[in-house]
């Protein structure tokens, strides 16, 4: 008797040990992917954000002057600070400046005349005090003697410090400040419209028996296949001052909020559709049977079963759309007119004025919605209940003529909007000279004469897209699995979740610049990847991490948490469960993530524009460059080439997934 107890105990311990090893591997993997996110996202961003606290001001104590009389007798050295105290030439408020600040040295000499024979000497009191003589950078504590005429050209340069002055400057400039209001307004309206349209569309795809579902699915994904610049170009052709349908707007200009909203709905639609559709794809037939047996009206069933089931997807979609719209700069740049938004302000500060510090401040402000999104997301997730338990029965819609027709009409409207934009773009790419010579020609497709590297760029883009799709999907899905199906380790998971949500909120331009500052530092051991394809892949995966992560999470949340304990009790290691159950069940989502990464890598511009090098020019950057150079039609043509490539990839993906899903998703059918 005693013997049996002795032998039973070690077995029990072994079982627990086995579980621990599983957990250890899971946590280890999670840490590895978290480390990736830290290096590829958090560290570069931290450097970028530290820029927002870099302030510049003129430190007058750092400069010393001497003045001679006509006979060459030098006065006693005086600092600029002492001179300013006596004269109050430059009030303290004017001493704050930016990295490009210049202060004329003659401001401290009220009787200065460039014709006088008086001579001047200048030196720094510290070695790093910098000043310009005729734009030539000088520094150091050695006296420099200058004639009046040269002294006129002396400009003091500011010194760097840490502080909040940039934020003060930002919030005291009404022009900049108003952009917050504009951005939020645009993003809010676009979100409501996009999520509404996308929900109806996804609902029709998943819950009706209408015809042409596959065709609609294809059309809905079209906007993801093109650069966000394209709807802007198309809308101008349609509704601009020379637009084909200009009269439809009844005098409201397309330039401004209207254009931004319509274009945003176009490019954000597939993102919302993808997430909501995943949420609606899996549902439990038993809930509907219960509702029917309780004689609930279909309206009531919709609000009590369908919406709560899709709630997580809806909220995720809303935040994805909101942040996508608020961070996009291509579209408002093309069609925003004088309507200032935050993302364009970054462009103005960074590209227009090379003021990285103020650009960083605007970036920080753009991060606020992301943090809000994260908090709300956490709150919703807590209440999320798995819809697909081990005992679930997949939902199969029944034909209903009236409802199916309604669904068909809804989807058709959306499809016409999307296809209309695409047809217009194709038209724009073919017309010789809009609107004066409408004859068609293929001359805009001769990319070899244009910016961006011709066919080489095109192949680079495909290489980037393929690498991003494969590597990105693995990283994202494994990361999402570890975060969703790990027990305990709460703080680690929360931190991971935050890192995964962050990329969505980071404008590509900010990410790209952050990469320069981080990876081009010779002290960085990862410096070697700067200027290679690797950095483009890393940057692109990181940039598009969030939507993939959310898609994976939405799919994973619908798998009952009971699967893990069951597997453990059957003494199966987690990776077997992962390979045999999780991956096959989530295969539709995994395939969606990979194609999402592929097409976005083909179309992305804003981040990679700072990172490509001579061997890694990209087709999407070529589009931007051509549009910038004024070659709108060739830009449209190249954008359409990207579209056709993506469409082909998407078709291949569709056939592939059809075949795979038939093998792995048979359990969904009854």
């Amino acid at each position: 008797m005693a013997m049996t107890i002795d032998t039973a105990l070690p077995v029990g311990r072994a079982l627990r040990l086995r579980l621990d090893r599983d957990e250890l591997i899971k946590r280890g993997l999670m840490v590895v992917i978290a480390l990736y996110l830290v290096v590829a996202l958090a560290a570069p961003l931290a450097i970028m954000l530290s820029k927002s606290f870099s302030t510049y001001s003129f430190d007058l104590a750092r400069f010393e002057f001497q003045v001679s009389d006509k006979d060459g007798n030098w006065s006693k050295p005086t600092t600029a600070e002492a001179l300013n105290k006596a004269l109050n030439a430059v009030p303290p408020a004017k001493l704050g400046t930016n990295s490009d600040g210049r202060l004329q040295a003659t401001s401290f000499f009220p009787d200065f005349s460039f014709r006088s024979p008086v001579k001047y000497k200048i030196r720094g009191t510290t070695t790093d005090a910098a000043y310009l003589v005729g734009l030539k950078l000088q520094s150091g504590t050695k006296w420099q003697e200058l004639t009046s005429n040269d002294f006129r050209r002396v400009m003091l340069r500011p010194s760097r410090a840490l502080g909040l002055e940039n934020y003060v400057a930002y919030f005291s400039t009404p022009t900049l400040f108003r952009s917050i209001e504009n951005s939020v307004f645009i993003a809010f309206i676009s979100t409501i419209v996009t999520v509404g349209l996308a929900f109806g569309f996804a609902y029709a795809l998943n819950r009706s028996c209408m015809r042409f579902k596959d065709a609609f699915k294809l059309v809905a994904m079209v906007p993801i296949l093109v650069p966000s610049l394209l709807p802007g170009i198309a809308l101008i052709y349609l509704f601009g001052n020379q637009g084909l349908l200009k009269d439809l707007l009844m005098g409201v200009p397309i330039y401004g909020p209207l254009g931004i909203v319509v274009g945003s709905v176009f490019f954000a639609f597939p993102h919302a559709m993808l997430i909501i559709s995943t949420a609606l794809a899996i549902s439990d037939q038993r809930h509907y049977e219960a509702a029917a047996s309780l004689r609930a009206s279909s309206w009531r069933t919709f609000w009590t079963v369908t919406i709560p089931g899709a709630r997580y997807g809806l909220i995720s979609a809303a935040f994805v759309v909101f942040t996508l719209v608020i961070t996009d700069f291509g579209l408002p740049k093309v069609i925003g007119g004088q309507y200032n938004v935050l993302a364009v302000d970054i462009y103005k500060q960074v590209i227009g004025q090379q003021n990285f510090e103020m650009g960083a401040v605007v970036s920080v402000i753009l991060l606020v919605p992301a943090i809000a999104a994260f908090i709300v997301d956490r709150m919703v997730t807590k209440k999320q209940v798995a819809l697909l338990s081990a005992r679930s029965v997949p939902y199969q819609p029944n034909p209903n003529r009236g409802f199916d027709t309604l669904c068909f009409a809804w989807c058709s409207l959306v499809a016409i909007f999307i296809l209309g934009i695409m047809v217009t773009s194709q038209f724009a790419a073919l017309v010789k000279l809009w609107p004066y010579d409408l004859s068609l020609s293929l001359k805009h497709f001769a990319f070899d004469r244009m910016d961006g590297g011709g066919w080489g760029s095109y192949y680079n883009s495909i290489r980037l897209a393929a690498l991003t799709a494969v590597i990105g999907t693995v990283i994202i899905f494994v990361g999402a699995y570890m975060v969703e199906k790990t027990d305990g380790f709460r703080s680690g998971r929360t931190a991971f979740q935050f890192l995964a949500m962050l990329p969505m909120a980071v404008p590509g331009m900010v990410l790209g610049l952050a990469y320069i500052f981080f990876f081009n530092d010779p002290a960085n051991p990862l410096h070697a990847i700067y200027g290679t394809m690797t950095i483009l892949v890393v940057c692109t995966i990181t940039h598009f991490y969030t939507v993939g992560h959310l898609t994976a999470l939405t799919a994973l949340k619908q798998i009952d948490q009971e699967f893990e304990p069951v597997a453990a009790s059957l003494k199966q290691p987690f990776y077997k469960l992962f390979a045999r159950v999780t991956v096959p069940v989530c295969l539709p989502a995994i395939l969606d993530i990979s194609i999402y990464m592929f097409v976005n890598a083909m179309t992305t511009v804003s981040a990679v524009v700072f990172l490509y090098s001579k061997d890694t020019t990209l087709a999407s950057v070529a589009v931007l460059n051509m549009d910038d150079a004024g070659d709108v039609a060739p830009a449209a043509a190249m954008a359409m080439m990207i579209f056709y490539t993506n469409a082909a990839a998407r078709l291949i993906h569709m056939f592939l997934s059809k075949a795979l899903i038939k093998r792995t998703q048979a359990w969904r059918m009854r």
Partner: protein
């Protein structure tokens, strides 16, 4: 057998070594030159110097300048060939340029070379502000073509003028700084107050206003002349107007990036970039080039551009950029809400 093997190995080794010795120098060149010109420039350069391979990073002026400044602590570029002089002045005042007097730089027009000795940069060609006027749309609205900057403030042009935003476009700043130099500080701002009443939109790119005029999206676009000539060559119904008062201008210029490891090759490129052959090459697209007596008329461009170019004080424009942009933004950008 063994001996033969050794011999082959030795031969291979010698070949490898010698090919390494003969390997061409590669220069990383940052540029904002239009792509279709760039290919031609590289080919022409390689006719004379086949041993130097030029690897271009090409983008718009703003992006290239931002990239150079962001890489300040660890420059990736060896040479900047074809970037706005105003951008090079920013780099110069950051101490990022290596001063070097290219052989033959003294042959260039003096205002095309940095005033310091040795110069930090040398000019290639100039591009100047000009007005694009769409004759078809102008005719429909019964508008006459403007002749001067002052004409643009006439009430009849209200809502028909588009110009680049100086806070996002170098061309926009070029316009603003040239008006302040032409009319004086006080009258310059008064002029812009009047102009603002007529402006329909401020764009983010310098070429866009002319592009919009070419497509009939606006009647009058304030832009620069070589872009306008390109649109006109494509058949757009625009007139290129050089305002009477004089026009602001900037030049494309080249410089060696301080700290380059390939100084010899970089100097070779700079020497070549001021040569007669190079200037003739620039002249294909640009009416005004750095070397006197080289320029031939360019199709679609007015002949008197160089005579109309103001005496542009680049140093003043660079030193006062912050102040001017602040004032401009305060006056016009906060008011520039869409007209509803």
């Amino acid at each position: 057998m063994n001996q033969k093997k050794n011999f082959v190995l030795a031969a291979v080794a010698t070949m490898l070594l010698s090919s390494a010795a003969w390997a061409e120098t590669e220069l990383t060149v940052y540029t904002a030159i239009e792509a279709e010109d760039l290919k031609r420039y590289a080919e022409t350069f390689n006719q004379d110097h086949p041993d130097i391979k030029l690897n271009f990073i090409r983008d718009s002026t703003g992006v290239i300048t931002a990239k150079l400044l962001a890489e300040k602590d660890n420059p990736q570029a060896d040479v900047v060939w074809g970037l706005a002089a105003t951008s090079l002045l920013v780099l110069k005042s950051e101490g990022m340029l290596e001063a070097y007097a290219p052989k033959g730089a003294d042959q260039l027009k003096p205002n095309f070379v940095d005033t310091d000795t040795p110069p930090s940069w040398v000019g290639m060609d100039a591009w100047a502000a000009s007005i694009c006027f769409n004759t078809v749309e102008g005719g429909k609205l019964g508008l006459t073509a403007p002749k001067s900057w002052k004409d643009l403030t006439k009430p009849e042009y209200k809502g028909h003028v588009v110009m680049p935003n100086p806070a996002s476009s170098g061309t926009g700043y070029l316009d603003v700084s040239s008006w302040l130099q032409l009319f004086g500080e006080k009258d310059g701002w008064t002029y812009m107050d009047g102009l603002h009443q007529n402006v329909a939109a401020y764009t983010h790119s310098g070429s866009k206003p002319c592009k919009m005029a070419a497509a009939g999206e606006t009647v009058i676009g304030i832009s620069f002349e070589f872009r306008a000539a390109k649109s006109k060559a494509e058949g757009a119904p625009i007139d290129i107007i050089i305002p009477e008062e004089g026009i602001g201008w900037d030049m494309e210029a080249s410089a060696i990036v301080a700290g380059t490891a390939k100084e010899e090759a970089a100097k070779t490129l700079l020497d070549w970039s001021v040569s007669k052959k190079a200037n003739e090459m620039y002249n294909v697209g640009y009416a005004v080039v750095a070397m006197p007596g080289v320029a031939k008329p360019v199709p679609h461009l007015p002949a008197d551009i160089e005579g109309k170019m103001i005496k542009n004080d680049f140093e003043w424009a660079a030193n006062n950029r912050n102040t001017i942009l602040e004032e401009w933004t305060k006056r016009y950008d906060s008011k520039s809400e869409p007209k509803s």
